[in-house]
């Protein structure tokens, strides 16, 4: 049984490596002598051991002059060949220069190396030597050394690629998406995905290990929610019955509080079918949290602690608590409920000053009931703009001014600044856009009113403020949370009498609230957006491994794709092909 014994020997070595990476208690003296791994065990350097279990002895990014004379094995991709003399070898950690031996005795090795195309994958064994004086590369972390090749194994020779893997090569978005597995080799995409992974890991440590949260997975095959126009449907094998991919685990996390889980979190995949909207994805990820026996201040502190704990060290430390502003203040000073507070330029009400103005249209504006004149002070902008009692317009104008000034080279917003802001005291209901006599939830129907506004629910619901809070980062909404209604009677009143919805669709939630629901609240952070701001990406597509195009296509595999009638039969559906007149059959 030759296979088996070779295999068991391999396993003995690999097992040693895996074990050495984390256990201090059971190392035998024999194991201790096993040198190449020992320098990298995690308790010595407190970093992950990326060499464990691998064919490499070192990564391409780590060799320095203290490795001189070491025999090393590197695995990686050929970044480029130079003058049949050098190969620059790349892995996720960086680059190393490989020196191709020129002696006649090494002619087979030289031939093998010189035949390689860019992006071919090899394993090279060789000795670390100092680069000749004058040939060091100070701009390269491994620039003091090179590795004289002594042996090579070619794993794969690469075909001609549609683009080169160099950061400065500009590629169209669609080419990047079609060949995503090449695009992800860029140092920026490697950095983005690795930072995201580390950030999420720190968040988990904070929630699980520090605060005792329980990571609970909730279903993604669920029931369509009332008015869930943006929910994908999934046909089942029962005629006419469909699952729905939920937009968030909102109902489940509240049910978990009723179930006594006490502290729940999940890095949750969510789904929203918004057709073609720029920089939206049909599936996205949120950091979803819920707590029992907590108030609004508690949830906000939790999130501040979470971000402070998980914040990447290279971006400096975060100061908490974050600034807080009421919805009213935000609308008054910035004309928007998610102000970019990295720069001032607040809106100013100048009605008083202009009360005695002789300019007719200004006079007419201030003399109307509730009329006012507002201004935007654009420093160094030499622009002063007045307009009517319409603040959202001014708020949008403010951002456009900022862009305009910055495009003229006037520095307004520090590109390395991170301004977090809480906006609180939102109205609980807003008039429906298409039916202004009717109210709809400003966020969702489960938000509790402020305690002092509770009675207004039954008299003047449009005046009620909710225990809702939004987290804003640099003018982007990255999270929204609230304290939830925990009494069935109050939830029923909101659904039935205020929102005029059919409460039977949420009967399971109403029954749950009536079965001993604790007071509870929570929040969800948009992970894709948060990471994209941290790494200063222009799109959330740059922090997602395999995103869809803005039309919802996977350009690499060409999804969504045609499915045969035969395959649809078991789901009891058929396609309604558009007729030539644009009508459905």
């Amino acid at each position: 049984m030759a296979t088996k014994s070779r295999f068991l020997l391999q396993r003995a070595v690999s097992g040693l490596r895996a074990h050495a990476a984390w256990s201090t208690s059971t190392l035998s003296p024999g194991r201790r002598l096993w040198r190449p791994q020992l320098r990298h065990v995690s308790w010595l350097r407190e970093l992950p051991d990326v060499l464990s279990l691998s064919l490499r002895s070192h990564t391409c990014g780590e060799l320095r002059s203290h490795h001189l004379g070491d025999k090393v094995t590197l695995c990686g991709w050929v970044q480029y060949l130079r003058q049949d003399l050098f190969i620059i070898l790349r892995d996720f950690s960086g680059l190393t220069q490989i020196l191709i031996p020129q002696e006649e005795s090494a002619r087979h090795l030289k031939a093998a190396l010189c035949d390689l195309t860019a992006e071919s994958v090899i394993k090279v064994t060789g000795t670390v030597r100092r680069r000749p004086v004058g040939q060091e590369n100070k701009g390269m972390p491994t620039g003091e050394i090179e590795v004289l090749a002594e042996d090579v194994e070619v794993f794969n020779v690469c075909r001609q690629l549609p683009f080169e893997i160099k950061d400065f090569i500009r590629k169209s978005e669609s080419l990047r998406m079609q060949y995503r597995y090449l695009d992800l080799r860029s140092s920026q995409m490697q950095k983005n995905l690795r930072l995201r992974s580390k950030l999420v890991m720190k968040m988990r440590e904070y929630l699980c290990n520090v605060h005792g949260f329980v990571d609970v997975e909730t279903p993604t095959l669920f029931k369509r929610t009332p008015g869930g126009a943006k929910e994908f449907v999934v046909p089942s094998r029962e005629p006419g019955r469909f699952y729905s991919l939920p937009q968030s685990p909102q109902q489940f996390k509240q049910l978990l509080m009723v179930a006594g889980i006490d502290r729940y979190f999940q890095i949750a995949r969510c789904y929203r079918d918004e057709g073609s909207k720029p920089d939206r994805q049909p599936e996205f990820t949120q950091v979803d949290m819920e707590m029992s026996f907590v108030d609004q201040a508690g949830i906000m502190s939790l999130v501040e602690g979470l971000l402070q704990y998980a914040w990447p060290a290279e971006n400096g430390s975060l100061k908490v608590p974050f600034q807080t502003m009421t919805y009213e203040e935000a609308m008054r000073d910035y004309g928007v409920d998610k102000p970019d507070t990295r720069f001032s330029m607040k809106l100013v009400d100048i009605s008083e000053v202009l009360l005695s103005s002789e300019i007719e249209f200004l006079q007419s504006a201030v003399s109307q009931p509730g009329g006012s004149i507002q201004a935007l002070n654009v420093p160094r902008g030499a622009v002063r703009k007045e307009t009517f009692p319409v603040r959202p317009l001014l708020g949008s104008l403010r951002l456009q001014c900022a862009q305009l000034l910055e495009s003229c080279g006037i520095s307004l917003r520090n590109p390395s600044a991170f301004h977090f802001l809480w906006v609180v005291d939102f109205p609980l209901f807003l008039p429906k856009e298409d039916e202004p006599g009717q109210l709809e939830s400003a966020h969702h129907p489960f938000t509790a009113p402020l305690p002092e506004d509770k009675q207004l629910l039954y008299t003047e619901p449009h005046k009620v403020r909710g225990q809702h809070f939004d987290l804003i980062l640099n003018g982007c909404e990255i999270g929204g949370g609230s304290i939830r209604i925990h009494k069935a009677s109050e939830q029923l009143h909101v659904l039935k009498n205020i929102l005029k919805e059919d409460p039977s669709l949420l009967s399971h939630l109403l029954e749950a609230l009536d079965s001993g629901a604790p007071p509870h609240g929570g929040i969800a952070l948009g992970l894709d957006r948060l990471v994209s701001i941290i790494v200063r990406a222009s799109s959330i597509r740059d922090v997602i491994a395999f995103p869809k195009s803005f039309r919802g296509h996977d350009l690499m595999s060409r999804a969504p794709d045609l499915v045969s009638d035969e395959e649809l039969k078991s789901y009891h559906i058929s396609v309604r092909w558009p007729t030539e007149e644009g009508e459905m059959k």
Copy 2:
């Protein structure tokens, strides 16, 4: 702005709590004096702080005699009332006895407490006192003390419930599922979900922090795979085009290796539409891993280290390496490729002994080409059973014998034993069940052959063994992994010439392999099954928060549900209602 100042005060207090839970470096002297939290900060007891940010000062499970005289605030559910004298209050951590004051001066408090129904939710403040001599409860961790109530806040009075929240109350499966938020309050379900969360957290620590794996999320809206009959479809807004919910991230994880991610993992949601199969779920979770520049032994050691690191301490420690057996040995000795090695009773070939038997049907069996007689030795079973060259039948008989013996009270398998086993050297291809002249992949078409069998791919593919390995725990398959094919030409040969599949459906993967793919391999562990074995649950439904019934229904929300024709219009599908004859319209 009274709201805001109250609110900022709340936040100052909550922030202090959140902060105290993890930072040692910035505690001011004033903060240090804040007593109730300080006893619980994580660096003192190295446990999560489940009191942070909460309305409670202690949990219901933690009070002991060293708390005597302390003023405490507890939040929880009324387990039961006793003689208008006591309330037993429950939270996730345990139970505490609350003493109802009987003095006339406390009559309002007494009335409020005595009015409570079981499962009502309250906050109680009171003083910890020793129970009178003789009234201690040794079976209850808090049985030495009780809390004399001084104040109560009733958050919710509970309605009459469909079943009591007591572990010994037997409920039907469908009732448990319909009222899952009540079922999850049981101590067993609380334990299961919390153990699962901790296990996964330890696995993440091992993969990310110890071995440098990158947690990458892959899409669940993907393209239908060839022959993916078990994949749910998701209609898109383009007529006739569908996404598919993938059965695993197999293609993505291989593409991530081509992309140079080097080490990937994901706790991945997967989907499989198997109709109504017992103890299967339409969505399930796997611990999904992939590595570059690794061999089979490396992956196996990784998994052994992972399980050893994450193994719940209360189950003892795991010994590695696990036992390894070839597919051939497993089939020979146990008649199955996932042997339960907790007991012996191996199959024995007794053909030699019976060669000279005079019993005619035995004679005829051994005299046939390849004929043999096999036996099963059932110790203390007083049963000896011979049958033909059919080992799977005997394997199944072996398990039935074990059950039979155990049902007669003969202890065969230690219920607290965990026997891990690797099965290796599987055949790469098997004859198709319905077309035995044709081969299909034993696992999936991406598995690489054993190096020594590689040439057989082009001559005798049915003889090729694959670099595939299954992980078995107590006779259940809990994981399957392999080294993958990393050369495009080899993958094309397997797809086109051996499996006779249309390679254009996987053209993106073939192109990727041709673009500098490293050697790579990985494994996926079935998390639901693994956790269910660890907690000795009879079904994976007991380790999933909101599982579907075996018909794929959510009995709580009644999913899947009817969706109106109008809502289906934007997805260009319509329902094919069965006609009375059982045919489709």
